[in-house]
Amino acid sequence: MIKLNKVTKRFGSIVALDNISFEVKDGEFVFITGPSGAGKTTILKLILGQIVPDVGEVIVDGTDVGKLKLKDLPSFRQKMGVVFQDFKILPERTVDENVQVALAVIGLSKTEWDVRVKHALKLVGLSRQINLFPSQLSGGELQRLSLARALSVNPKIILADEPTGNLDWQTSDDLMKLFQKINEEGKTILMATHNLEIVKKHKKRVINIVGGKMENKTKNQKSEIEPKA
């Protein structure tokens, strides 16, 4: 479970997040929406432990992320899969090596890499591109590779920051179907997006952030959880 409790985050004089509280239950698929600069990415960074809240707490599976020591962050992050808007793919490694790196990071035995890599790449439809370099892939393929890397470590939680931000409509739709499928397998997905078409199409819970604050109205509610004050 992910829980943000009265979280405030400032960058200098700018208030990025102001008294944000919400919960995401295990197995849920939640959209975080809002215009650019609303604070969506800041929420994901807080959950990932990249930044710490000035006020409030961020709890992930019972762990107060803000209080985690530097040495404990890697093992905490290894439990999560992250998909970035700019893909964050290692440019000098092939498709399979990019996934292998994630498996090496979690310390998985090399004998298990092959099966995991093939499974993850098959799931996202990149089996044929296994030996290609990122520069030889399209934007959609790069994003699917990013997702394959995230999935390969079998995380409980997947954080996706504008995964369709750089993709055309058709590719975005294909990717969203993948996320839907993954969610149905029991993974918790928290996706930041400003693509309202996607949000409308997939009837999931929406947390709308505007100017660093939560809007109290919900859109496309599948399950209604009012933000806690």
Binding site: L70, R77, Q78, K79, E92, Q100, V101, V105, K110
Partner: protein
Amino acid sequence: MFSIHLKTALGYIRRSPFQALAASFVLTLTFFVATTVSVLVYSSSRLISYFETRPQVIAFLKDGVSDADVANLQHSLQSDSRIKDVKYVSKEEALSIYQKATSDNPLLGQLVSPSIFPASLEFSVADLSYAQSVIDQIKANGIVDSVGFTAALGGESSLKDVVTRLNTITLYVKMGGSIFVGMLAITSLVVLLIIISMRMANKREEMEILNLIGATRGFISSPIIMEAVIYAIFGVFMGWLISFITILYAAPTVVSYFGEIPVLPNGILGLSELFGIILAVELFFGLFLALSGSLLAITRVKKAR
């Protein structure tokens, strides 16, 4: 896990060949000089040791001393730990030595008889510093007429001069070599630091990605440390090998120049043993240099969450 880091490190080297060349060249030069200086220090030490243990003290015996007295003195010299290689030279043997020394003018040898040569006891001192006390002690013995010292080198002061000069040269070799090797080692460390820092600057994005997917600092820095270790091992082997080949090539000339003075170990086996020890020590220092250089560069990077 090791293979993925090694593959990454080799990839880094392959993608920036000029940096790799700079690091390898400096490290090769450092360890070439280190190997050569080590051999020079070894050779000069052997040279000093040779001269220090060479001095022949000759105790000329009075005429008419009994064999028992000579045997007693010989025995007491042999039991003295400061003295070694005690040898009795009879009058006849002394004549034979004289005749041999004057073989280019046989007439000189024919004009003398054994009776004019005193019998003597010849020996070496284990260390030159013992020479004076041993000579004083021998002189006090009743059957000893006089004591000669290192006739081959022209006397006591001459030998001391030779050893002092050799000691000074060895000291200069050691000091000069140490300073030179030290400066090269510092240069190598700085070059490694620069290259590793550049590598880290180039790979900032990759390191950030790895950090975000949960890689530990050890995981992220392993290929970088491995790269430095590869440079160091390569530098050690190349520097050592070039020096080894050069000295092997020069060995016959050196050995023939110094004659019986053993400035180099005997045979290829002895030489290999000496170079084996040097290689082991240099590998240790090479690894130390690589680890300290890369770790220093890594710790200078600000720790981020």
